[in-house]
Amino acid sequence: MVSLSDFLILAALLFGIGVAGIIINRKNIIMLLMSIELMLLAVNTNFLAFSHFQDNLVGQVFVFFILTVAAAEAAIGLAILVVLFRKTKSIEVDKLDTLKG
């Protein structure tokens, strides 16, 4: 049978790949958003695996809320991205230095 550690290792791999995506794709905001989605997917997988192996449905409720928040986050992030592109004609992270931070 598939053990809990198999699920957790799969989630760890996905999370690590998402982190790698954020480090590598520093230019492109869309790729950053997609990497964040990958990391959220990994976290949700962890929740579901523990929920299954401990026979407790609360983990699934938590995943439900995470999915809601992630959908809202993606919608607002993409709206900000569209506005940004209209203003600056670019979505490169390096060019977002208006605040001189």
């Binding site: 049978m1 809990l4 989605e37 928040v69 979505i91």
Partner: protein, 201 residues
Amino acid sequence: MTVIQLVFYFFATVAVLASLGVVASSNPVKGALFLVLTFFAMAVVWMLTHAEFLAIILVLVYVGAVMTLFLFVVMMLKADVVGKFEGFVRYLPLALFAVVLLIGLSMFVVSPERFGLEAFPEPAFKPETYSNIQQLGMLLYTDYIYPFEIAAAMLLVAIVAAIALSHRKIKRSKSQHPGLQSQAKRADFVRIVKVPSEKKV
């Protein structure tokens, strides 16, 4: 190797390879499509954890709504703007170091000695009459009703925010603005141009 194991390892491999494709693809359209593949494969894996409702929600909401939104935005932006891909080689060593450290550590923590089948035995199969959606609904509409309502309100706020951010005002109205009119100065509208006078022939 049982059928369940076969399904799990096959779709886990597909998910990992597709997520590598997301990270490594230079074209965001390809990246979004790889992410769709990742979501499909992970939906199958979620199905193996007996989370049928959430697996379907993952396909419907993520693939059907969120990734479609991503694809729309990617295609709305100019392709040459989107296609920049410079930092890959520069940041690859750093990324590899960080990720190998992260994955190695977390694999060490979640190793089969601690989270194997001995520590967490596979729970017994539910009877045929067991309904995941029903149980989830029972929990969601009783104990978690307030978080549920807060989530609904948050979705509404997200809709309003997204529309307010990206909505463009239509410049069709020809109404007058008295404030702007009274601020008008002569210098804004009248320009005196010196024209050299013609010479007599």
